[in-house]
């Protein structure tokens, strides 16, 4: 598998799995606006994944659905950060913000890529991600500004920090540390990143649920 396909799968798998996790708030978010917001963000992320899977499928002579749904859990490139199931608000906001911050750094780098197709798609994705970042930062500010929210968010951030570091390659990690610490006004624990390639047990469970309808139909079924 070429480096290009590896990279496309890394991006696509992160967006697909996080999109699924975000969609778990549909119908049960703390209030209606957030129900709409997380559902819409999920739709965007899965849309990004789909476009990236199309590029992979073209290179592999496959189709996007097969690439997205027919692999074994250990063949996914997703970062453990997006696999965790944390249906709790502080952890949801912490993961959302950490991921969007890391993803912004990654997209900035890709927008400068010599691969014109990759640079173009990164720029297109980034236009939409702007709104995710505004949303995530709004919530971080809101929680940091509340007596009850701040300790909860801090605890969630410390817990998820090693996972956030694992989203990026070594060369981009210092930028993530700088941005997150600047926003929080405090240092984060010095920890080893939870590396990509390792998977959380929740991933297999997620994939089982996500692909259950597809697996129930005969191969080649048209939807």
């Amino acid at each position: 598998m070429s480096d290009r396909v590896e990279l496309l799968l890394t991006l696509a798998d992160d967006e697909l799995i996080l999109g699924w996790r975000n969609s778990e708030w549909t119908g049960i978010a703390p209030f209606l606006e957030e129900d709409v917001a997380f559902s819409s963000i999920a739709q965007n992320e899965i849309g990004h994944a789909r476009a990236l899977y199309e590029l992979v499928a073209r290179e592999l002579g496959s189709d996007a659905d097969a690439v997205a749904f027919d692999r074994a859990p250990d063949e996914y490139r997703s970062a453990p950060l997006v696999e965790l199931r944390r249906l709790e608000w502080a952890r949801t906001i912490a993961r959302h913000w950490l991921y969007e911050t890391a993803d912004a750094i990654r997209l900035e780098a890709l927008k400068g890529s010599d691969d014109a197709e990759l640079a173009g798609i990164a720029a297109k994705i980034d236009r939409e991600e702007v709104y995710h970042r505004i949303h995530a930062e709004m919530w971080v500010d809101r929680l940091l500004g509340s007596e009850d929210g701040r300790p909860r968010l801090d605890e969630a951030l410390d817990e998820l920090w090693p996972y956030a570091l694992g989203v990026l390659d070594d060369d981009l990690r210092p930028e993530l540390v700088a941005r997150v610490e600047a926003k929080l006004g405090r240092a984060l624990p010095e920890v080893e990143p939870v590396p990509r390639g390792r998977h959380e047990p929740e991933l297999a469970e997620l994939l089982g649920e996500m692909t259950s309808v597809r697996r129930s139909a005969p191969v080649g079924a048209r939807w």
């Binding site: 709409v36 917001a37 990004h48 199309e54 197709e117 798609i121 939409e128």
Partner: protein, 174 residues
Amino acid sequence: MSGAPVSDFSRTPALADADVWKAFAEIPDPEIPVISIVDLGVVREVRVEGERVHVEFTPTFMGCPALDAMKRQMEDAIRALGAEPAVEVVLDDSWSTDRITAEGREKLRAAGFAPPTPRAPEPPTLIQLERGPFRCPWCSSTNTKLENLFGPTPCRSLRYCNACRQPFEQFKTI
């Protein structure tokens, strides 16, 4: 090639780019039918080459479920002109809300959707979205407030007009 009218029943070699554009101008956006796909600015290029019509199509929001329907409708429109469609989906950065035509923006406004504000060199910020002069499509007041960055589809935010006390949908600028 001339822009001579095309009859419905002959595969005429006289099909021109303009005929295809005219047919596309009749295709409504599947989610907001007041506006056509040409108004929306998603058709980047039309090129008639003999019996084939090449189209470059740039999606709006990548998760928009209307994209497949738009592509299918363009293909049907080309077949109805007696030609073979070749619609290429271009996933680059060339579509922005600035590509929505002036006419399209007015149609949106008249239907109660506040059209997107022009793109600025820098991406929008929360402060701009909260304090900027966003105009109510119903009463034209700019005394409106942001209710939710996200709305019923990826392209829209929700706002509320303090003057006429109506909620409305604001197109996001991307």
